[in-house]
Amino acid sequence: MTDFEQILEECLDDLEQGASSVDECLTRHPKHAAQLEPILLTAGRVAEGQAVRPSAAFKARARAKLTQHMQVHPRKRVWFNFSMLRLATNLAIVMLALLVTGTAYAQGALPGDMLYAWKLNSELVWRAISSDPIQTDIAIANRRIAEMNAVADDPIRMAEAWKGYQEVRTRLESELDAETLEQILPVIEVEQEPVDEPTLPIIPTPLLNITVTPQPESTALPLPTISIPATSLPKIEPTIQIPLPIP
């Protein structure tokens, strides 16, 4: 801001507050008086605009028009306003964040943990929206086996994980047919790899052993069967035996 602008601002403030008149300002700043005078006078002229009033006839006419408009277009009582809408949006964002965080956190839950039910429910959603439910079920079965490994020293929790595993296995059994077999075999083969690693000391065996037994072509339905011997817990050695038509 230049010197002149500072002086102008000071004079305008003084005039606005009634601290000094135009002449007093000009006397205080003789060097800039010629420049200041028209501007200060203009400011005064603009303020004279406050004298403008609409005619009484117009005010009455416009009021009548407004009253009629309000009668024709009554305001509906809104049960929420914009601030409530904003609050609801914020609340929804917080809830969504909690849901996402909670679901992510629940994935590490083990049987008996507070968030385990959340984990199972999230798996149901996962399976429901999955484009490939069979792969999802295999992944879920792997989870149950990993859980059994983790809670092997607690029979109650172990039983819960085992029950979950049985449910997935039942589902897989019902899903296997000639079409899905092609899909499921390579997936199961892939699934075998991690369990061979020494990080799973309790269940070193493959997740699913598959034995494909060729069958005569006359077999009406080449429905696969899965049998998983679980004779002694926690040693789990599930096996899938699948009868296939002879080519």
């Binding site: 400011a43 002229r45 004298a51 609409p54 407004l66 408009h69 305001r75």
Partner: protein, 192 residues
């Protein structure tokens, strides 16, 4: 000038929040009270933004119809109610010029001075106001806005800054530039 400032700086109406709350819930009488309290200020604002008195009246009337319809958008306490009306007025003025594609020549002056004055004083005042009104048309939209809101509507710079979505310093600078431009115009036309 001192007198004008004293009467214009009360930008919020007494009991404004209660009236707005009632109006929001559908009470037309409360809104009519708001109309009574604000109509002169809104008219004055529009009067200096257009050169046609009929248009000034018409736009003033529209401001209140629009305000009634969009009352939910006004947040009580966020700014004075009249400041919200100025925003509506400004948009309607812009629409007016868009529709007209230019300013409309002035036919007659119907606005009345506030006080009893002699015929000579009244003519002088009307002449002066008309000169200023013409001068304002020579400014940019923002320059008109800051001068009218500051010196005619009497809003404090803080409210003007909010209304125009600018910093107070920027508003002050804009006011000074606008005054300088307007004073040049007034001098050229021998209005000063």
């Amino acid at each position: 000038m001192r007198e004008h400032q004293a009467t214009s700086t009360d930008s919020s109406l007494p009991d404004e929040a209660r009236l707005v709350r009632h109006a929001k819930s559908g009470n037309s009488e409360a809104f009519a009270e708001l109309y009574d309290a604000c109509v002169e200020r809104v008219y004055r604002y529009i009067y200096f933004r257009v050169t046609d008195d009929i248009a000034a009246e018409d736009i003033t009337s529209q401001v209140f119809l629009k305000a009634w319809e969009n009352l939910d958008r006004y947040q009580i306490g966020s700014s004075p109610f009249v400041a919200w009306l100025y925003t509506i007025a400004r948009n309607l003025v812009i629409d007016f010029y868009r529709a007209k594609k230019g300013s409309v020549p002035l036919d007659e002056i119907t606005a009345l001075p506030a006080k009893e004055q002699s015929p000579v004083e009244e003519v002088e005042l009307r002449f002066s106001l008309q000169a200023m009104r013409d001068g304002l048309q020579a400014l940019t939209d923002e320059q008109q806005q800051v001068l009218i809101l500051k010196y005619i509507a009497g809003l404090p710079n803080e409210n003007i800054a909010k209304l125009m979505n600018k910093r107070e310093g920027a508003v002050r600078a804009l006011q000074m530039r606008a005054l300088q431009t307007l004073s040049k115009y007034m001098k050229e036309k021998d209005y000063l």
